[in-house]
């Protein structure tokens, strides 16, 4: 058996939206060859989309809070000030360290960050080696520590190409009219030369190593596509209104030229690697190339990252890889586990990514170990005490400043260092938020705000995270401060207010706020999506459908909009279309449990029960708390697929999940408790009733009572029967509920006059007489309920006003469903509410 060989090629910011038309025109034949005999897909990026963090995630399979690379720069603790982020700050092993440990020879060229070069079994050339920041005709020293083994430096430095070496032959393919550029005034030509020279240097070194060393694994990182993008994407056709015609004509071909140049370089890598090599081409994020290109960038650190599109590229081609297929749901985190799998090595359980098992024709067995980080032995990493030479970092730092990623810190080293720490902390907060760890994220943001209370990024994130943590008052307080400070924020802040109302299940109020916001700001995708979500809540599906269609007309790669459209289509009865929209959403964003769930619902309606089960199972794998998906599975396995065992497995899990949790419907007699029980039943919840008390004229749809409840004060031994279900308990008996269970109490409130009136009628008594003493007793009972609620930590209580429930069923059912962790099918639940039953209404 021959040895496995893998080449991992990193093209920073490469985007299918630019590549596809070029491939269609036959202008990227090398990549096209790999695409045709391999699998391709989008590679979902991570937040924040900053390259050193992302490329380290690609190389480790871990998010930045685990791998420790948190930005472009870091404080230089030896010389003061700052330095470009160094590989010595990485807290975990990269794929090449794991391969080294397992005896494979690796060459790594230019990875960001990889300085100082690690002592691996092979050659590592750091990202600082090719940086050319010295003037022409002056010495171009090699950055110390940028090559391992150091003796390779002498050979490899001969393959560095200084920008001043390039001639018109290298420039004209990008800028045919370069002669018209006044280089004294226009630095763009020099910028192009520098980007191109550094890419060519990286490539020359990589090819030399491929030809002249033994290797099992090559990783080559090219940053040029990102740099061409930041400098020249604004000039790419179609011309944007704010771009002068002369500039457009001069620079319109640069980006496409850059892609074609990379394809030519890829062709050479393929040629040198040989047919038995697996190629993996990845980018860390995409780059907006159409109407989404921002006209200007705000003056904030890392602002150019706003030009990054959230999907990078993935193409894998080689032996045992499926041909001409698509891979869905891949993220940057999956690359390292997949490479390890190709070599037959296990991934670490501490890795955030997964093996892309669907890419293989014959999937090699994949296994996992606890962690590669805890194993003793030689991994080709730096010793812990290793530090970086900060002087050698200066050139790379200068480049980052020139590209606009960094503010020029000037001479004040302390200030620069403090700024760097601030940004690293801020980036960490965003990584934690991306893990839904909002409580940790807000801790960091609040700490940052203590030092810099006016920083708008921190304030906006504080609003977002407080909303996620249901700390609405805190969020509103910040909104108020910002409103007072700057009126221009007003519309954007209204969007946040609308989101708060949405979270509070007040869709009408949210709709009002979003509509007001829309008048004062461009209808951004995020605003339209929020509007669409509110229309769904309000069951205004036609309007939701229009909104999501509008979002998709502008950006057909918006997974959330596809999901919103799918939901609207599902409710409007366009079932096939809904399934297709859900699939589109999943294709763009695989880890999207609600999209899988609603696909499942559509497939049930299409009577594709096996496929529906697959969709529900996937949604549960991603979010085991989706009780509704499990209820669907029980029903389908039992009734449609006749797989009683599978149904039983899910029933058992559901019972286990619901163990110890009881939903109580309570209130005074005749306050609407029976109606609430009907709603819960119709919404899909299990209810505990013995039907001893039959329906009658007072409650024509039944009482949903359970006889044993009456004995609650002296016997609660039967209460386990109610676990995971809803049980009706009148207000007077609530205090007898034992503490060993967790209760969610839906307490029905109704106008006291209506209650008494209804009771009198039911008892056949005179309805015109009002028994004041009874009313006073009931009032006391309500106060007792509140006291009981406040002292019982195992009780969560939601008041529902009966009259309001009848008048505003949508908002109330939303609120109830939120309270019950979305166990209800809202549409079915709402159908129960019959205004005709609201007979005893006092106006």
């Amino acid at each position: 058996m021959h040895k496995k060989k893998v080449v991992l090629v990193g093209w920073d910011a490469a985007d299918w939206k630019v590549i596809n038309p070029l491939m269609d025109e036959g202008r990227m034949p090398a990549l096209e060859k790999l695409v045709n005999k391999g699998v391709i897909g989008n590679l979902a990026t991570l937040d924040p989309p900053l390259s050193p963090m992302l490329w380290t995630s690609i190389a480790t399979g871990k998010k930045a809070d685990k791998h420790g690379i948190l930005g472009f720069i870091e404080p230089d603790n030896i010389n003061g000030g700052i330095r470009p982020v160094a590989v010595t700050s990485r807290q975990t092993k990269a794929v090449w360290n794991i391969l080294h440990y397992n005896g494979y020879k690796c060459n790594v060229v230019g990875w960001w960050p990889s300085h100082p070069a690690e002592p691996i079994n092979g050659v590592m050339v750091s990202n600082l080696f090719v940086k050319a920041n010295t003037p022409p005709d002056s010495p171009w020293p090699v950055n110390e520590g940028s090559v391992y083994p150091p003796e390779m430096t002498k050979i490899l430095k001969e393959y560095r190409i200084h920008p001043a070496e390039l001639t018109q032959q290298h420039i004209l393919p990008f800028i045919p009219n370069a002669a018209e550029v006044d280089q004294e005034k226009d630095p763009r030509l020099a910028s192009l030369a520098k980007i191109t020279a550094e890419a060519a240097s990286t490539h020359a070194i990589a090819t030399w190593l491929m030809e002249n060393t033994e290797w099992d694994f090559m990783a080559v990182y090219y940053d040029a596509i990102d740099h061409y993008g930041h400098a020249f994407m604004k000039y790419r056709p179609p011309r944007q209104n704010h771009i002068p015609v002369a500039d457009f004509e001069l620079y319109k071909d640069v980006v496409d030229g850059g892609y074609i140049f990379h394809d030519m370089m890829l062709d050479r890598l393929i040629e040198l690697a040989g047919d038995d090599t697996t190629f993996i081409i990845v980018s860390d994020h995409g780059f907006y190339s159409d109407s989404h290109r921002p006209a200007s960038l705000p003056r904030i650190p890392a602002a150019p990252a706003l030009e990054h599109r959230p999907y990078g590229i993935l193409c894998i081609s080689g032996e045992n890889i499926k041909a001409d297929e698509r891979v869905y749901g891949a993220t940057l985190l999956d690359i390292t586990p997949t490479i390890l799998n190709i070599y037959g090595l296990p991934s670490g359980k501490d890795m955030d990514g997964k093996v892309l098992s669907n890419i293989f024709t014959d999937h090699p067995k994949s296994s996992r170990i606890e962690s590669w980080d805890t194993l003793p032995g030689d991994f080709g990493t730096h010793p812990p005490e290793k530090t970086e030479d900060p002087v050698s970092s200066a050139a790379a730092l200068r480049q980052l400043i020139e590209l606009g990623y960094l503010e020029d810190p000037g001479e004040d080293k302390n200030k620069a260092s403090a700024q760097a720490v601030r940004e690293l902390k801020y980036n960490l907060s965003r990584v934690l938020a991306s893990r839904n760890n909002y409580s940790k994220a807000i801790e960091i943001i609040e700490e940052l705000l203590e030092d810099d209370k006016d920083e708008i990024r921190f304030q906006l994130d504080a609003i977002k995270y407080n909303i996620q943590l249901s700390e609405f008052e805190k969020a509103l307080k910040i909104i108020e401060i910002l409103k007072r400070k700057d009126e221009s924020y007003s519309s954007y802040l209204k969007v946040f207010e609308g989101i708060i109302y949405s979270h509070q299940n007040r869709p009408h109020a949210a709709l009002k706020m979003f509509s007001e916001a829309e008048k004062g700001m461009p209808a951004t995708a995020s605003l339209l999506q929020e509007l669409g979500k509110v229309f769904i809540r309000l069951q205004r599906y036609e309007e939701a459908l229009k909104i999501f269609t509008k979002v998709l007309e502008n950006d057909d790669e918006n997974a959330y909009a596809w999901h919103g459209l799918a939901l609207a289509q599902l409710r409007l009865g366009f079932i096939q279309e809904s399934a297709e929209s859900s699939l589109n959403a999943i294709g763009l964003l695989y880890h999207f449990p609600p999209a899988h769930y609603h696909l499942g619902e559509a497939l049930v309606r299409l009577e594709k029960f096996t496929e529906a089960c697959q969709a529900f199972e996937l949604s549960l794998k991603m979010n085991p708390g989706m009780y509704k998906a499990r209820r669907w599975l029980i029903q389908i396995y039992e009734e449609k697929l006749k797989q009683k065992e599978m149904a039983e497995i899910h029933r058992k899990i559901l019972n286990e999940q619901m163990k110890g949790k009881i939903t109580i419907v309570s209130g005074l007699p005749r306050s609407g408790t029976s109606l609430m029980m009907q709603i819960l039943k119709a919404g899909g919840m299990g209810i505990l009733t013995d039907e001893i008390r039959l329906a009658d004229e007072s409650n024509p749809k039944g009482y949903f009572e359970y006889e044993k409840v009456k004995s609650l004060p002296r016997d609660n031994s039967w209460l386990h029967e109610a676990e995971g279900k809803a049980l009706k308990v009148i207000a007077q008996l609530l205090r007898f509920l034992p503490v060993k269970y967790d209760y969610k109490v839906i307490f029905m409130k109704r106008d006291m006059y209506e209650i008494i009136h209804s009771q009198q009628k039911m008892l056949g008594r005179q309805q015109d007489k009002f028994p004041l003493s009874v009313a006073q007793a009931f009032d006391r009972e309500l106060k007792n309920v509140e006291i009981w609620h406040q002292k019982e930590p195992n009780v969560k209580l939601l008041y529902v006003d009966y009259g309001d429930l009848i008048d505003n069923p949508v908002e109330n059912i939303c609120k109830i469903n939120h309270f019950l962790d979305y166990q209800l099918d809202e549409d079915e639940a709402i159908k129960v509410i019959d205004k005709n039953l609201y007979r005893t209404k006092i106006r």
């Binding site: 001639t167 191109t196 490539h203 990589a206 090819t207 030229g257 140049f261 030519m264 062709d267 050479r268």
Partner: protein
């Protein structure tokens, strides 16, 4: 850019992939040579060096004539 040349390396002789004939390396270089990597860079620099030497010799020859 669209009609790219294809090369094959044979030490420092660059050959056309289709015809197998040696390709003349222009001292000004090309993106194609850069894309060839180490071999292309080396060939380009040799061609440049040779061109410079020829230019120097030619200048010296002219001096002698005068």
């Amino acid at each position: 850019m669209t009609e790219r040349q294809e090369y094959q390396s044979d030490k420092i002789t660059i050959r056309d992939k289709q015809t197998g004939q040696p390709v003349e390396i222009h001292p000004e270089g090309s993106l194609g040579l850069l894309a060839l990597g180490a071999v292309g860079v080396k060939a380009w620099r040799e061609a440049r060096k040779k061109a410079r030497q020829n230019s120097n010799m030619s200048e010296k020859g002219t001096e002698k004539l005068h």
